[in-house]
Amino acid sequence: MFESFLQATILVSVAAATIRIATPLLLAALGELVAERSGVYNMGLEGMMLMGAFIGYLSAHQSGSLWVGVAAAGLTGAAMAAVFAFMVITLKVEQIVTGLAVNLLGAGLSTYWLRAAFSDSGQTPVIPFFENVPIPVLSQLPVVGPILFDQKLLTYFAFLMVPAVWFLLFRTRYGLIIRCAGDNPKALDVKGVSVAAVQYAAVVFGGLMAGLGGAFLSVGSAARFVPDMTNGRGWLAIIIVIAGLWRPYAVLAATLVFSFLDALQLQIQGIGIAIPYQLLLMMPYVVAIIALMVRRSRANAPAMLGMPYSRE
């Protein structure tokens, strides 16, 4: 009797953690999905998330307001994405190389700035973090309540963005234009729509979402910034988009698989099962490779993904 109660509690806590951990991945992956649908591979996602996490933390610390931190993180991601877009869309620099440069910039600049800003204190100050906001009535439901409806506001936002992005991409004229930019940019050009403008908008949106994802890590849950705290989540988000076959709901499913692994890992460490923690921590990366080995179909990939469009 008591044992089954304990098991149920553990299951609920793993499930709730899965939803919470999914937040930054989901935000970044949805942003990347829109960018890739417009034909641009944003390989700089990791750097944008990391910089968002740092600027979010710094602004929240300076202003005393968590929401200022979140807004600043989103703007940071968007600004970095605008630079990225200028390089790859206007100047047509190799997307992989530019993305890498953005990642290295995020890693270097955030570490440097952190040391420069908090050199006196020796240790980075802890800031308050977002509390859970239970939704009235719904959070009282058994099992489902604590899992789905007792989360942070950014988590609700991330999950609501799934249908929103789906609606944008597949039910609006603008979504059609975005998808067309990725599949057949020439057709857009002939119609007199600027392919570059559409791609800029999509990439900047992707950066904004990545910045918000980063903010969730620092301001949303850790209450501090640690160098390289994204730890590959930007790359996982890119993999999630591929594994999710460029479709919003499948992207959500793929996100949940990865965040479940992470939640499980935390739980196993928490109750002290004797598995070396390194094996648990490397799991998401191993699973990512396996996922790509299994999901080889690129049938859904935008036809012109990664290829810059020019008229000649």
């Binding site: 390989m43 953005v102 420069a116 490397m282």
Partner: protein, 360 residues
């Protein structure tokens, strides 16, 4: 009708950049990068000129400092060459970081597990071990690409994360951890296996000469061998090479083996030439910097060596800069990325011109 003549400016793409435009573009990129760095110095509360001066003094101010700069440049030459070989073929091996780990780990394993070696053979064993470890780990990503069509950018990045945990598993209360040691590292390696020093008063070791030799070798491979021809041809058009009858799958594996082997050697020089222990701190960070080195070096071995020495100087001078001006040495990684961004933009802009299309 109003009577103005409106002059319109148009930006056009050129087929081939003129040398003068290239020069101006590069100069502008360098100036831009220096200005941004100056602003970062100011942000840290230091005088930019003073900071640049102590950066220079720390990197080339004395024989010892110069030697240390070349020590720091050594692994970057290897990882830069690794990226150079792969990128020339347009195979995006981002995995030098992990391949440096693999090279160091395999060398360590070979030295300790393949039996007792006489003193003279110890160095060749660890060098071969580094080549094998780096090469095989890169070839794994190559296989994933050719057999399972997993994009090499993503697989190499994942493998970079994975191997850090594998090393930690072996070091932290694992089979390789130092007996009674507190840190995540191995015991000191056998003296016979360490790379000999070159110049008294510096820490410059044989690895630097190996790196220069590797640069010459890569240059010869690229320019004088059938493999080099295939690499360059793959860089311009892989599909055409396929049609022509080259086994491009095999080529991808071979390029990854070569690229990874070069990166693996960086692991050997760091463990057996500098730190004398295997630990994550000894081998981390060179892979990603190597990619920047390769691109700044225009994917040419000579350029790679030059860029690696510049980056070695930055890394080395940063320590003195931090002591003298209080600017955190982490700045160097930001500077590297800023340099790369400005140079990429500079090169790209060389390919554009502003043309006036007058309209009456």
């Amino acid at each position: 009708m109003t009577d103005f003549s409106i002059a319109e400016w148009r930006i056009e793409r050129r087929r081939e950049a003129r040398p003068a435009a290239r020069f101006i573009g590069l100069g502008a990129a360098l100036a831009g990068a220096i200005i941004v760095c100056g602003m970062l110095f100011l942000a840290a509360g230091a005088e930019p000129l003073k900071a640049f001066a102590s950066l220079a003094k720390g990197s080339f101010g004395s024989l010892r400092a110069t030697g240390e700069t070349l020590v720091k440049a050594t692994p970057l030459i290897f990882t830069g060459l690794a990226a150079c070989v792969a990128f020339r073929a347009r195979i995006w091996n981002i995995g030098a970081e992990g391949q440096v780990f693999a090279g160091a780990m395999f060398a360590y394993w070979a030295q300790h597990n393949l039996g007792e070696f006489p003193a003279l053979v110890q160095i060749p064993v660890v060098v071969m071990g580094g080549i094998a470890g780096g090469g095989l780990y890169a070839a794994l990503a190559g296989l994933l690409k050719t057999r399972f069509s997993v994009d090499e950018v993503i697989s190499t990045v994942m493998l970079n994360y994975i191997i850090v945990y594998v090393l930690s598993l072996l070091l932290l209360r694992g089979p390789w951890s130092e007996a009674g040691g507190f840190f995540e590292q191995t015991a000191r390696v056998d003296r016979d296996a360490t790379l000999p020093m070159l110049i008294a008063g510096t820490r410059l070791h044989m690895g630097f000469l190996l790196a220069l030799a590797a640069a010459v070798l890569v240059h010869l491979i690229l320019t004088r061998t059938p493999l080099g021809y295939e690499i360059r041809a793959a860089g311009s058009n892989l599909r055409a090479l396929d049609v022509q009858g080259t086994n491009t799958r095999r080529l991808i594996i071979v390029v990854m083996l070569l690229s990874g082997a070069l990166a693996g050697l960086a692991g050997v020089t760091e463990v057996y030439g500098v730190h004398y222990r295997l630990k994550a701190g000894a081998v981390a960070g060179y892979g990603y910097s190597g990619i920047i080195v390769a691109i700044l070096g225009q994917l040419h071995p000579v350029g790679v060596v030059a860029a690696a020495i510049l980056f070695g100087a930055l890394l080395n001078g940063a320590t003195l800069m931090q002591i003298e001006t209080g600017v955190p040495s982490a700045l160097i990684y930001a500077i590297q990325a800023i340099l790369l961004l400005f140079f990429l933009a500079g090169w790209a802009m060389c390919n554009f011109r502003l043309r006036r299309t007058g309209r009456v």
